[in-house]
Amino acid sequence: MTSLAPRSDFPLLASAPALHYLDSAATAQKPQAVLDALAHFYTHDNANPHRGAYALSARATERYHDARATIATFIGATDADCTLFVRGTTEAMNLVAYGWGEANVRAGDALVVTAMDHHASFVTFQQLARRTGAELRIVELTDDGRLDLASLASVLDARVKLVSVPHVSNALGTINPVADIVAMAHAVGAVVVCDGAQAVPHLRVDVEALGVDFYAFSGHKLGGPMGIGVLWGRRALLERMSPWQFGGDMIDVVGDQQTTFNTLPHRFEAGTPNAADAVGLAAACDYLGAIGMDRVRSHEVALTTTMMRSLQALDGIRIFGPLDVDSRSGVVSFAFDDVHAHDLATILDEHGVCVRAGHHCAQPLMRRLGIAATARASVWVHSTAADVAALVTALQHAKTVFADGALR
């Protein structure tokens, strides 16, 4: 199986032909188009947006504005001003917790997270619950690593103000039935915030069709720069939210004792905006858009099928999450022969195979799986069957290194 996107699109991969980068779920390699967009902005368009009356500043403002429109379209948002730039998914979740949560959650209310939430949302809403005196309720998983919708139903009642759910689990790869979850949550009047960090790079995402109230993702996982991400929210919710960071750009009139605030999206983007990285992220959306997200998904389904079959053929492998490829993304978490995930990752590294080893910022999930860590291989547009074959060869080598005697 060849790659969907040529390796030559990615300068880092092109310069390291023997590297098998299977850690796109942690961060994606960057297409040349993104690096070019960043360089172009700094070379030709760099000025402080929204500030100067001169042409260059106007151009920077326009680039920033255009980037927002491109990204909004990419995720199916018709109202680009509801697409807020943040540092990444983590900051997006904190914006929801401080901007929406502090005003809407009271002692006696309940917040719902899932056992597969990333720490970015799990810890953020756990701490919101602690600050406000709300109860934190956790949706449990089925044995094959899906959300247990019966468990969700059992924690939903009129006290629930917010439900947090990952679109795709970063540790298991599970694709969650977000629209169904939204219907259940809305039936009790709860707001739904969805972590799309592992979805936007791999699936066609339409935030309006999903029906969620907030949707967050990180730019660096879809080939954009680090330090830029998006929180999309419903206008009706965003307009009632107080700013959570204050400063330049987000104000309307500043009096000696009080201030009125700017309109969306600026009221949530205090300070000089990260315009260059927004432009870079828009270039990443354009790059993926040109390939086509349906083709990205088909490629990843085919490659994930190959990877799951190859791994399952190894003695001593344990794959976490659904075995049905239609229910999962190109993230495959596994344990092998009781070899600790770190030991696996070290040996794989010697073969040029990059995988993540650890708890994947999902300690509540790891506790439920009864393990400290997993190894996780993840694919993207440049991945090939050769990458998967290298993974399998390296795992076989790991087996020989640790072969003798009873492992503990």
């Binding site: 990752a345 040029g352 290194v401």
Partner: protein, 159 residues
């Protein structure tokens, strides 16, 4: 910061090569497979537990000191081979040693995993621990050794 003109290669020249072999030497693997002092000590000896927040590993030590001498020590772990082998080798070395000697040994191990320079100090008798010099080539794994050092140091100071 100057950009490196010639960054080190991302991929080892030959996979089955001395790299992994030198980290997973037989000494380290045998301590991992059959660790010494991996048990729970009887009596009310407090357990000092540390975690590596980056990987989720858990390591704990029990240790008793009589006068200036470590008389008993044991560990338990949900951790990788490097952590467990380090614990096995280190406890084996410091049981019966003075506290000062134990600290000296741990300082040496700490240096070894950083720089691999192991000019022997007369009388230090590092034994199997010398194998940990190979960890210096694997910066990501230094924390696996230091998880043990940090826990044992705290256990000694807590006595």
């Amino acid at each position: 910061m100057a950009l490196s003109a010639d960054p080190p290669p991302l991929v080892a020249a030959s996979p089955a090569d001395p790299g992994v072999a030198s980290l997973y030497q037989e000494i380290i693997l045998s301590h991992y497979r059959a660790p010494k002092h991996k048990r729970l000590l009887a009596g009310a000896i407090p357990v000092v537990e540390h975690r590596n927040p980056l990987c989720g590993d858990v390591f704990s030590v029990q240790l008793s000191v009589d006068g200036d001498r470590i008389t008993e020590a044991a560990f338990s772990a949900r951790a990788c081979s490097i952590t467990q082998a380090t614990a096995s080798m280190l406890l084996d070395r410091i049981i019966g040693a003075t506290v000062a000697d134990a600290h000296a040994v741990m300082t040496r191990v700490d240096q070894m995993v950083e720089t691999a320079v192991t000019v022997p100090v007369p009388g230090e008798n590092l034994g199997d621990l010398r194998a940990l010099a190979s960890v210096s080539r694997f910066p990501a794994r230094r924390a696996c050794v230091r998880l043990v050092l940090g826990t044992v140091r705290e256990a000694i100071s807590a006595v």
